[in-house]
């Protein structure tokens, strides 16, 4: 006998309260036109499903050319950051019921990065800023035979900023970044923080100098957009403030 669960699951979803929602999606395909347009799609969906499920329904049932990135579908890989009803979110962590399905749900690419097609943007400048802060442990002297020791308190000090999945939701929600793509942006600073406050790392001074740059941490205007946007709940603005303070006091 086959594993018994699946037919029942099917039956239940068939009985579940599907609602009709409108997705209003910003479309852009330079192979077809230089202009971006809004396009509406109406689909039936269970409000407990994710915006990503809605995008899949559109792609799989209505228009195969709708283009977006996605992979894990549960908020870990960072592929599907997009602007949903005007706010940066991960499509796979946003349930339909939580974003007022009565009105059209608007979906746009994240801002401040060049749109390549539909919801796909050029991530290269974002990753370049990340690489620029030297996001790797730097130590001096001989390596110990066993692990380096680190107290639970020292480990806890930078725990929050290790959660970053590089989705760019924070950086692309930052008004400073929108106006000036040269700014490192919150994500790069978060990842510098992750090493500056790691007791094992010995390149804190170097990283601080990088962020002391004209395009560095002082550009931050503390609007808290980044903290609101982070799908991992990282206190991004707080991390940026800690880096600023470390620059002044040289204590970290």
């Amino acid at each position: 006998m086959a594993t018994p669960v699946l037919d029942k699951v099917e039956a239940e979803s068939a009985a579940s309260p599907y609602i009709t929602v409108t997705f209003r999606i910003r479309r852009f395909n330079p192979e077809i036109s230089d202009e971006a347009i809004w396009e509406d799609f109406r689909i039936d969906i269970d409000p407990k499903e994710r915006v990503l499920d809605g995008l899949h329904k559109i792609k799989w049932d209505l228009d195969g050319s709708l283009t977006f990135r996605r992979s894990c579908a549960h908020g870990i890989c960072g592929s599907d950051a997009m602007r949903i009803n005007g706010k940066n979110r991960l499509a796979c962590k946003t349930l339909i019921k939580d974003i007022n399905p009565e009105k059209p749900i608007t979906v746009e690419p994240i801002k401040g990065l060049t749109v390549l097609k539909d919801l796909v943007v050029d991530m290269e400048p974002f990753f370049q800023a990340y690489r620029d802060v030297m996001p790797f442990l730097i130590t001096e002297g001989n390596e110990p035979t066993r692990e380096r020791l680190q107290s639970p308190e020292d480990r806890e000090r930078f725990d929050d900023t290790t959660k970053c999945i590089l989705c760019a939701a924070c950086t692309s929600s930052c008004p400073v970044f929108w106006n000036d793509g040269q700014y490192f942006g919150p994500a790069a600073i978060v990842n510098a923080h992750r090493f500056i406050f790691d007791s094992r790392d010995e390149a804190g001074e170097q990283r601080l100098e990088i962020l002391n740059d004209r395009d560095g941490v002082w550009r931050c205007r503390t609007t808290f957009n980044c903290t609101d946007a982070c799908p991992r709940g990282i206190e991004v603005t707080k991390a940026i403030q800690e880096v600023k303070r470390a620059l002044i006091t040289r204590r970290f």
């Binding site: 006998m1 086959a2 594993t3 018994p4 669960v5 699946l6 029942k8 699951v9 979803s13 395909n29 330079p30 192979e31 077809i32 792609k59 799989w60 195969g64 050319s65 283009t67 977006f68 990135r69 996605r70 992979s71 894990c72 579908a73 549960h74 908020g75 870990i76 890989c77 960072g78 592929s79 962590k93 349930l95 390549l116 539909d118 796909v120 991530m123 990753f127 690489r131 996001p135 790797f136 442990l137 390596e143 066993r146 692990e147 380096r148 020791l149 680190q150 107290s151 639970p152 480990r155 930078f158 725990d159 290790t162 959660k163 970053c164 590089l166 090493f195 094992r200 790392d201 709940g233």
Partner: protein, 584 residues
């Protein structure tokens, strides 16, 4: 078409690919081709830990770890490989720590360790704390740390390059790897990478199931590319179903939840695992726990109005412990189910999780063309490969270990090979197959749709070759897959463009899944016994006389161009552990 030349090409940038890249970039000119940005890889979704007998918190040694791995794999593990895995685990963890990985720490400042399924003290006496972890995002930290070190080493990535073909050339009667052919997603351009050595590290095949913990992108691309070019696939009937996926969605909730004291309960609140595994209880091996869950459900003790799931109960654990040790999975329960794990149990069901089988390799990561012949210049590591360290059922935390140990080994072996080998001359028209495949899909006017065929495939796989299998269910899967493969020939896509054509990509991925599903079902049909993750209700016992052997599946092409699966078998390497009855 562009032609590139590298010493070493790595296909895939998850844990195994990036661990290999760190080694091979130091030793040879290396390119990493990856269909996703490296940090999007599914290694990042692994949660609970990475096993190594560090003995930081209690007595442990690598020999016990070896035994647990072999027993966990129901004795289908190659024991020489398992020894290497357990022995090199210790350095693999220390390597990562030195690269910067922020492991959880003991009060003394050493790497902390937690319990995990199937890992025991002294050959099964009691659970042991062997899993090194970083909260419940160990895989995320491994992926980030390896990517960071790839940046440090200057690894050259080709992001969103999708490898569609493995070039194999016969020289003096020996099959050799000449390179790969890749499709650039951004432009639609086709690239040939000539390389002395190629390492496949492209991950699993879990997307042929419907309820799965796997990412949308885990479509067996590496396995399919090699299989189509005559490389066998080993032990594909062995697939792991993780006991605790979120009900209906399949999102993984780590075994570490049970390692921290979580308990599985049926609708009567009973801790049912005590019946099935009196010693290890909720921490028995995953195949045992998944079968126990479905046994409870089938016997009417499942939860909910449909009786189709059980509960993972964390409510007796202090909220501070959940916040510190299991923050991500408790948030998944809140986000996707609207459940508060402090006070309410979480509905779960087994979810398709991990392919034990794959491209056969030896312990250096060299790919085998048959039971013993190495394909010069071809390597594989991680979930795409079958060494075999996981046998019929992988232990939790052994996959993060596998990618590090065998990623490193294959990276070194491939770079050393390319340092002394010559390029194999490319075939006359190296991109022919890929050009033909892409053009056919782009120009097809057939009336079949990718989404329909994929849905039917996933439904038949879930219904027929999941936790419980019989001759009848597997046969119906084989028939259905044959029908779907025939219909796939008439599949067409709507997006005819060149730029970021993910419509085309999904069609290609579906073709890979169909080929691999066929191999899996045919392999499962022939294995008339129950072992590890392969459970046959019509043959409920393990049969060491007839089936203590690895399955080797080959693609056979008939004169009319039709293809079929031919099965052969390979002996298991046994060193010091004779098969015993498996009890937890």
């Amino acid at each position: 078409m562009k032609i590139h030349k590298y010493d070493t090409v790595i296909v895939g940038a998850g844990g195994a690919g990036m661990r290999a890249a760190i080694e091979s970039t130091k030793r040879s000119r290396t390119a990493v081709l990856t269909k996703l940005y490296p940090t999007r890889s599914h290694t990042g979704a692994a949660q609970g830990g990475m096993a190594a007998a560090l003995a930081n918190v209690e007595e442990d040694n690598w020999e016990w770890h070896t035994f647990d791995t072999i027993k966990g794999g129901d004795y289908l593990v190659d024991q020489d490989a398992a020894e290497i895995l357990a022995k090199e685990a210790i350095d693999a963890v220390l390597d990562l720590e030195k690269m910067g990985l922020p492991f959880g720490r003991t009060p003394k400042g050493e790497i902390d360790q937690r319990r995990f399924g199937g890992h025991s003290r002294n050959h099964g006496e009691a659970p042991v704390r062997r899993a090194c972890y970083s909260g419940d995002r160990t895989g995320h930290m491994i992926l980030q740390t390896l990517y960071q070190n790839c940046i440090k080493e200057g690894v050259e990535f080709f992001n969103e390059f999708y490898v569609l073909d493995q070039l194999i050339v016969e020289e003096d009667g020996v099959k050799k790897s000449a390179g790969v052919v890749a499709y650039e997603l951004a432009t639609g351009e086709i690239h040939v990478f000539q390389a002395k050595a190629v390492i496949y590290a492209s991950g699993g095949t879990g997307k042929f199931f419907k309820v799965t913990s796997n990412a949308h992108t885990l479509t067996g691309d590496g396995q399919a590319a090699c299989y189509r070019r005559g490389i066998p696939l080993e032990d594909m009937e062995f697939f792991q179903f993780h006991p605790t996926g979120i009900w209906r969605m399949g999102i993984l909730l780590t075994e570490g939840a049970r390692g921290e004291g979580g308990i599985l309960r049926n609708k009567d609140g009973e801790r049912f695992m005590e019946k099935y595994a009196p010693v290890m209880k909720d921490l028995a091996s995953r195949d045992v726990v998944s079968r126990s869950i479905y046994t409870e459900i089938r016997e009417g003790r499942g939860c909910g109005p449909e009786g189709d799931h059980v509960y993972l109960d964390l409510t007796h654990l202090p909220p501070e412990q959940l916040d510190a040790k299991l923050p991500d999975i408790t948030e998944f329960a809140r986000t996707y189910l609207g459940i508060e794990p402090y006070t309410d149990p979480i509905p779960i069901q087994p979810t398709a999780h991990y392919a034990m089988g794959g491209i056969p390799t030896n312990v250096q990561g060299e790919v085998l063309a048959d039971n013993s012949t190495v394909v010069p210049g071809l390597y594989a590591a991680g979930e795409v490969a079958c060494v075999s360290v996981h046998g019929a059922n992988r232990l939790g935390t052994n996959s993060l270990l596998d990618i590090n140990v065998f990623g490193k080994r294959s990276g070194i072996a491939a770079a050393e090979y390319s340092a002394k080998a010559d390029y194999v001359e490319l075939p006359e028209n190296p991109a022919e197959l890929v050009v033909e495949q892409v053009e056919r899909l782009r120009n097809s006017t057939g009336n079949e749709r990718v989404a329909d065929i994929r849905k039917e495939l996933q439904e038949t796989m879930d219904a027929n070759v999941m936790v419980f299998r019989t001759e009848q269910t597997i046969k119906s899967a084989v028939e259905k897959i044959a029908e779907l493969r025939a219909r796939y020939k008439n599949v067409s896509i709507q997006d005819k463009g060149k730029r970021f054509n993910t419509d085309l990509l999904e069609a290609i991925e579906l073709g890979n899944l169909l080929d691999l599903a066929e191999v899996m079902a045919v392999s499962a049909l022939a294995r008339k016994e129950s072992r590890g993750g392969h459970y046959r209700e019509d043959y409920p016992n393990r049969d060491d006389v007839n089936f203590m052997r690895h399955t080797m599946a080959y693609r056979e092409v008939g004169d009319d161009g039709s293809d079929s699966v031919r099965l052969d078998y390979k002996p298991v390497v046994t060193t010091r552990y004779q098969p015993m009855e498996r009890k937890y």
